[in-house]
Symmetry: D2
Subunit: 344 residues, 4 copies
Amino acid sequence: MRIGVLTAGGDCPGLNAVIRALVRTANSEYDSPVLGFQDGWSGLVHDRAVPLFDDEGIDRILLRGGTILGTGRLNPDILRGSLPEIRATIARHSLDALVAIGGDGTLKAARWLTENGIPVVGVPKTIDNDVGGTDYTFGFDTAVSIASDAIDRLHTTAESHERVMLVEVMGRHAGWIALHAGLASGAHMIVIPEVPFDIDYVCKVMKRRFQMGEAYGICVVAEGATPVEGSGMALREGGTDQFGHEVFTGVADQMAAAIAERMNRDVRTTVLGHIQRGGTPTAYDRVLATRFGVHAAHAVHRGDFGQIVALRGECIEMVPVEEAVAVLKTVPEDRYREAACLFG
Amino acid sequence: MRIGVLTAGGDCPGLNAVIRALVRTANSEYDSPVLGFQDGWSGLVHDRAVPLFDDEGIDRILLRGGTILGTGRLNPDILRGSLPEIRATIARHSLDALVAIGGDGTLKAARWLTENGIPVVGVPKTIDNDVGGTDYTFGFDTAVSIASDAIDRLHTTAESHERVMLVEVMGRHAGWIALHAGLASGAHMIVIPEVPFDIDYVCKVMKRRFQMGEAYGICVVAEGATPVEGSGMALREGGTDQFGHEVFTGVADQMAAAIAERMNRDVRTTVLGHIQRGGTPTAYDRVLATRFGVHAAHAVHRGDFGQIVALRGECIEMVPVEEAVAVLKTVPEDRYREAACLFG
Amino acid sequence: MRIGVLTAGGDCPGLNAVIRALVRTANSEYDSPVLGFQDGWSGLVHDRAVPLFDDEGIDRILLRGGTILGTGRLNPDILRGSLPEIRATIARHSLDALVAIGGDGTLKAARWLTENGIPVVGVPKTIDNDVGGTDYTFGFDTAVSIASDAIDRLHTTAESHERVMLVEVMGRHAGWIALHAGLASGAHMIVIPEVPFDIDYVCKVMKRRFQMGEAYGICVVAEGATPVEGSGMALREGGTDQFGHEVFTGVADQMAAAIAERMNRDVRTTVLGHIQRGGTPTAYDRVLATRFGVHAAHAVHRGDFGQIVALRGECIEMVPVEEAVAVLKTVPEDRYREAACLFG
Amino acid sequence: MRIGVLTAGGDCPGLNAVIRALVRTANSEYDSPVLGFQDGWSGLVHDRAVPLFDDEGIDRILLRGGTILGTGRLNPDILRGSLPEIRATIARHSLDALVAIGGDGTLKAARWLTENGIPVVGVPKTIDNDVGGTDYTFGFDTAVSIASDAIDRLHTTAESHERVMLVEVMGRHAGWIALHAGLASGAHMIVIPEVPFDIDYVCKVMKRRFQMGEAYGICVVAEGATPVEGSGMALREGGTDQFGHEVFTGVADQMAAAIAERMNRDVRTTVLGHIQRGGTPTAYDRVLATRFGVHAAHAVHRGDFGQIVALRGECIEMVPVEEAVAVLKTVPEDRYREAACLFG
């Protein structure tokens, strides 16, 4: 078989490990060549292809963050309108199947293309761990690990200066990174999008720490956290400052201002940002991404199209796309309660 | 309730995280005091107890390797013979339940004590990941991570000097660490106890690499690996050298000698040893160990005695001890085949 | 002799390593007890003292960030006005000498106290590496190492998304962290306070990269960087937004806006912030801080008061306070030129 | 100018950073092309050359351990006998100068070739930090850092199991790695080649720890350590065991046996081996190696032949080869005494 592969959506540690394992398995087990398309779906539409050989070059990408194919986001409507071009690219290279590595939108596209006669196997990719059908996705462990390391460092600074510190981590809609990084680093409070926060309760937890003689408090906040309605705090949207420049203040900065006012104490914020999604994957993510790549190669040759590779317990299984994209996988209430035992 | 806790068997990153989460949850959710016993089961037999308070001291151990309680191994027969002493200790401190963190032997003891009227909840601990009933155990990810980091470093040295390198990792009976560390670090061959190795096949894979123009080869070997019968190589037992001193040569060193002879090439060995089981746990292990501790506290108060906490997919569940200790969880054949696609 | 010790000013990895080495050396070599004062100079003024014993507890702090004594800033005028209280504290504990670990202000205070009959040995502390008289100060290598790790991670994200990325690191007055972290991580441009930047030149360097076919560019910016006068860009001061909230936009964010406008390209910013000054010190900093502590103990017993310990080449030497505080040690022009060879 | 470059001797983190900085500086500042020779001096003798371009490929090697040019050792007599071939290679590629990156032997060869009309600038390379004329060499900080991380991990295992642990690190003739790694990781004893050890004294220090109530002891041993004459212990040479196989037991293993016997206690050994010299360099080493590369390019164009680049305080200076190779730079007695304050 001749196989095409592309990576779409945001950067994620482990993308290269999937590509490497796919190429090596397709080559060594099935003698199937693999062609990479650049910059996500648009590389398929506009036929920007590079052959991927099983050589030292491909072997070495295992540890490299990012994606050697580049990535990009494509409007689903534009994608649907580009079916003729996609068919042409597929025909031009005599491809028998595609492997599409991406998030929600990419997996839906994989499904839709399969229905339209272009057989695709999906590999789920979300650093936020919010895709259904799979226990975990690669990149998540790396993000949690980076965030935990950073929070470990903040403990001693917060303690030496007797401060409250807020750390904003990734997670627009799901609080998985905040939950795991908070647990791993012994945060005293974790705020996630799934459970609206009461700023007065956050202050209460922090105050109690100081009353108990502790010298500081650390609160991990997912970027998508929101206050409960009717509480004393509402999030401001971005605006323009008096110089006419756009101003966007994240949730942690706004919480910090509110807590500083209520507690009359020095509150500092750290926004981890892009460092959470780049660089060498953890060993865990390299294993998971490698296994996804090996199984994607097998799935293509078995003909498991319109499906995705997924982790279930210790096994990699095939799961229909529907299961993965039906609902966003958010943090269930009992998982948050589990962590809340350790607050304070 | 009044709860006792002990850690038994070999050192393992995450033990302190379990203790911390147990103490904090028992204190904050149930107002239950926790008493630690030192040096494993013998601390219970000889009543060497330390109260564990939910303060800054206990909070800080989250990142610390080892176990603040110390550990030790106790002959199961001696343990069984010490029931009166154990009962006395339990009575002296008015304990309602025990939490025992340990491997196979400890979990069996937990079961046996429960049957003898001393209610115990077990927390499985094995750095080798070879306990049944749970997808993973804490400490394993840390060991894999340390081994992968080490192997990453060996790649460039092996390449610069055009060498074959063998890396011996932990795993007497199960090859999980070798398998995961080998996958994570892009090893060219992985040898595990579950699949006896043919030294000539190992040489063939390495030779093929050099023939293809690659400059080096890395093989990860679990310490418990054994050669296939009838192959050109048999493992020597330890002996005494001409100076009358005991000599024990590990499997990697013996393989290295055999490969050097067959390939007429410089072969070097690295035995990772104790560094795999010490130090700060990875974020993954801190989360898993913390969750085990939280759930052990809940299990005690629910009365789930004779059972262990276990990871199933994304959830922590209670599992009967039998399930965990029935058979050693070894690497299944298809998991090894999955990795073997990437050899060479 | 009886010795007092305090840590003042901002948090810095290695403070605990100095304390540990001082205590252990004073105890084991001279049988001199050491008393710690809490929260910087104010602990001396208000006599908040803790005895520091050479035991397992003190031994273990070697790896810990922050300072077990706490820290604080004290107005020099208040300090000078508190001489009677300081004398009283010294007398109350029969102290023969003090060791003061801190920056510019603390070293000057050490000098002034010595002149007023309170013998002090200074240990220079600045994460920014801008104290004179010593080649390097502890904490700096850790900050550079953390910043480099972060920038390593940004490379692949920037590349996958074809972006310009700005990374803001510490350094109000001196660009040492930016210079070293930029060199260590292969940044394509480094902007430091010592050399005002021309935003058009920064854009030119970045544009040239894209013209040469590179997919991205990374620029490291010290927080104290300023534009050249007469260039097309002036830094705005903080202000209030239309909601009446204080707004402070750092130099990297302002540069990002200017570059995005000029290059019509996605420009992102990462502000590393507090994570640069916390957590476990690097091996380099642990060695340097330990040597400073050992030599501070010797200096006290030799009577080298009004002086500081300093690194010169491979040796620790005593240097008069004047030499350390005369001028801020900034990046010399030829050091910047050395790095500029590698821009683009 | 046209410049050749080669790397000789053992692997060392930072070699690629030197090559990268040399190529980039030679290209951008002087428009001088650079040609790499493979596998050390033999690549020059046998003319195995690869052009090195200032592109993304060369940029990316900054973080990579090993050397992209490969390395090798060449007998100095063979080198001297190959002058005609070397001249021919130089002429064939119209080279104006060479940059030779290597240890003692390579620097001497650089000197000898310069005297014979082939102008060479030397870049000192020794992971053991035992080359004179320069404060530090790249690779050393990485080795110390890796060893410290490993020893950090051993602390908790040793403590949990109440053991004495010996850690063998690199250093045949000089104890720099043992000294720095021991200081950085809080070892309780450090044994280096410069100061012969008395096994009874080592035992005494360890025994005293247990008597003081400590639970364990860690001793760092350089591989080249030797016992004092007349002490109760002499090192055995390697031999053959009763199976006719070669047996080499390192110094740490022999010390372990002697201590176990004398203390009647469990003593374990970890031999760090090759992992100390491979993989990504620390930020410190990347900066130092980069600066060496930049200055080597300048030195070539200034005509500073027969000299080496060297670190002096904070500056890179040129130093005559003689100064670097005159004597092995070993640990001075006062540096060892400085550390000995902290033993026990």
